[in-house]
């Protein structure tokens, strides 16, 4: 059974946002990593790039699949998880610990459009 953590915001496209103050940490869920298999590459945006809710900001690759990443929220990228450049498999080890980008939220009200843990869990069944 894939892990789902309380207190995060989830998108139906299997990304999560962990909100800390005016920032959001965006990654893919444990369910998403388990479906993808061994992650071999994470295509990330650059710091200062703008992301828009519902739009693509990168991709996660396994050996024989690739999955586009859709941003659950809008904002400006303030940090990318550089550890994933060398060790993309960290996502398989712990998808929630190993976020992909940190974004300064431009419209926190967008969080209301996302799912809570319970609703997301229901999708994964």
């Amino acid at each position: 059974m894939a892990k789902v953590i309380e207190g995060l915001f989830y998108a139906e496209s299997h990304e999560y946002v962990r909100v800390e103050g005016e920032y959001g940490y965006i990654g893919i869920t444990d369910y998403a990593q388990s479906q993808l298999g061994n992650v071999v590459y994470v295509d990330m945006p650059e710091v200062d790039d703008e992301v828009t809710a519902g739009e693509e900001f990168g991709a996660v690759e396994s050996v024989k699949a690739a999955s586009d990443l859709f941003s659950p929220v809008s904002g400006t990228v303030v940090e990318i998880n550089e550890a994933l450049e060398e060790q993309p498999e960290l996502i398989n080890a712990d998808a929630f610990e190993n976020w992909i980008i940190k974004v300064k939220l431009s419209d926190p009200s967008e969080l209301d459009n996302l799912l809570d843990a319970k609703a997301y869990e229901a999708i994964c069944e």
Partner: protein
């Protein structure tokens, strides 16, 4: 029945019985009748092997031979007998893309060897497993520049590139909505001052130059790589593959991408194809690279073996987000190149270039001495190809020489009255002298 169909009437009846239909036509029962062709195809009747051999043999014989002094993207180089012999092995030729690596090590290994050789010849980190030809390889190099730049959509290309290459790159640019700008030529080489001014606008994704250029001239690219990199543009060099054995390599010029046609490495001219485009780049750009890539890994018993890799860039996985629509391109031609270079080695490749150089310079000098030709751009360094202005009608001269059995270069595009002429190691002194005496 027929030689390519193994079914006996009995077989067909038994198989129809298993399927539960009465006739072969009933296998198409679900197709609306109005869509079916209700007549025979209007094409010739079947022919025996003897007849087909005669028909196609006659057509081959209608192509009258001309002694080749032309290049411009296709070169008459020596192909060792071993190359087509090995290529006739049907274990190679009747296989397909090596999806099942366990039974495709032959294909994967020769592609790996090809990738190694092309990366080394161009001085780059890696090569893909082939493109269709030099023109489409250059078009893909342009697309790589744009993909890499993300927010820039303008690519520069030297006007001294082969017009065939320019036309194909223009087509791809037009349909892919890339703004392609030709950097004008000055005195037969790219005007570096113009290139500098354009790059300094900071809106250029890449610059593509050609070596030797369309006129045969060896250009000096000093400073261009640094200039491009200072303005976040990629620097791509299109080269004639064979020349890479002796000319400063794209890597040595500081290029990010090397592209071009590798027909000159042992592949017959065959009226235009199949050839093989090459595309090489640096490690940092591997994920922007189109096409197949073969990599080394280990099998379950720890043995070194080879496999298609980095497939998540490709069309069968990424669909419309792929780096390109290209699938496997000219895989089999990698075998031509790998076996050719295995036989020739560095020494052979150098000798080919030395002999072509000597022949071309000998002919060039002799033509100038006749007084009927002059250099199109004054004295310039060249390898095996050069452009001269004919005093008189160039087209007429070329036509008259064809009647005497010579293919005297190509009419230089954009330079009325000029011919671009090539000499390879295949032309003996006697043949060159005979050409001169016929002029």
């Amino acid at each position: 029945m027929y030689k390519y169909f193994p079914h006996t009437s009995d077989d067909i009846q038994q198989m129809l019985g298993v399927i539960g239909v009465q006739s072969l036509d009933e296998l198409y029962a679900e197709i609306p009748e109005e869509l079916k062709l209700k007549r025979e195809l209007d094409i010739p009747s079947e022919k025996s092997e003897v007849e087909v051999r005669r028909i196609i043999g006659d057509l081959a014989a209608q192509n009258k031979p001309l002694l080749c002094f032309a290049g411009s993207g296709s070169y008459d180089h020596y192909t060792p007998s071993v190359v087509p012999f090995l290529a006739s092995r049907s274990e190679f030729s009747t296989s397909y893309t090596p999806y099942q690596a366990e039974i495709s090590q032959g294909t994967l290994q020769y592609i790996f060897e090809y990738q190694t050789m092309m990366a080394d010849l161009t001085g780059m980190d890696l090569s893909n497993a082939s493109m269709y030809d030099g023109s489409t390889a250059t078009a893909e190099a342009m697309l790589m520049c744009v993909a890499n730049a993300k927010k820039r959509n303008k690519v520069l290309i030297s006007a001294t590139s082969n017009p065939q290459v320019l036309r194909v790159v223009e087509t791809y640019a037009k349909y892919h909505n890339v703004e392609l700008v030709k950097v004008p030529a000055a005195d037969g080489v790219m005007d570096k001052a113009e290139a500098k001014a354009l790059i300094e606008n900071d809106d250029v994704a890449g610059l593509i130059v050609s070596q030797p250029n369309y006129y045969g001239i060896i250009e000096d690219f000093s400073g261009l790589a640094d200039l491009c990199h200072a303005h976040k543009a990629l620097f791509a060099v299109n080269s004639v593959a064979s020349a890479l054995g002796v000319l400063r390599t794209p890597g040595e010029w500081g290029a990010d991408i090397a592209c071009g046609d590798a027909q000159s490495l042992g592949i017959p001219m065959n009226y235009g194809g199949p050839y093989i485009g090459y595309l090489c780049t640096k490690n940092e750009l591997v994920r922007k690279m189109p096409g197949r890539l073969v990599g080394a890994t280990t099998d379950a018993e720890g043995r070194r073996a080879f496999v298609l890799t980095m497939q998540a860039r490709e069309q069968h996985i990424r669909r419309e987000k792929a780096t390109s629509n290209i699938c496997t391109a000219q895989g089999f031609m990698c075998l031509f190149v790998a076996s050719y270079l295995s036989l020739m080695g560095e020494k052979g490749l150098r000798e080919v270039n030395e002999q072509s150089y000597a022949g071309a310079h000998y002919l060039h000098e002799a033509l100038l001495k006749t007084g009927r030709f002059e250099d199109a751009f004054g004295p310039k360094p060249f390898l095996c190809e050069f452009t001269v202005r004919v005093k008189g009608d160039a087209a007429e001269l070329r036509k008259a020489l064809a009647e005497k059995g010579f293919l005297l270069g190509v009419e230089t595009e954009g330079m009325p009255g000029c011919l671009t002429i090539a000499v390879t190691e295949m032309r003996s002194k006697q043949e060159i002298d005979s050409l001169i005496s016929n002029i």
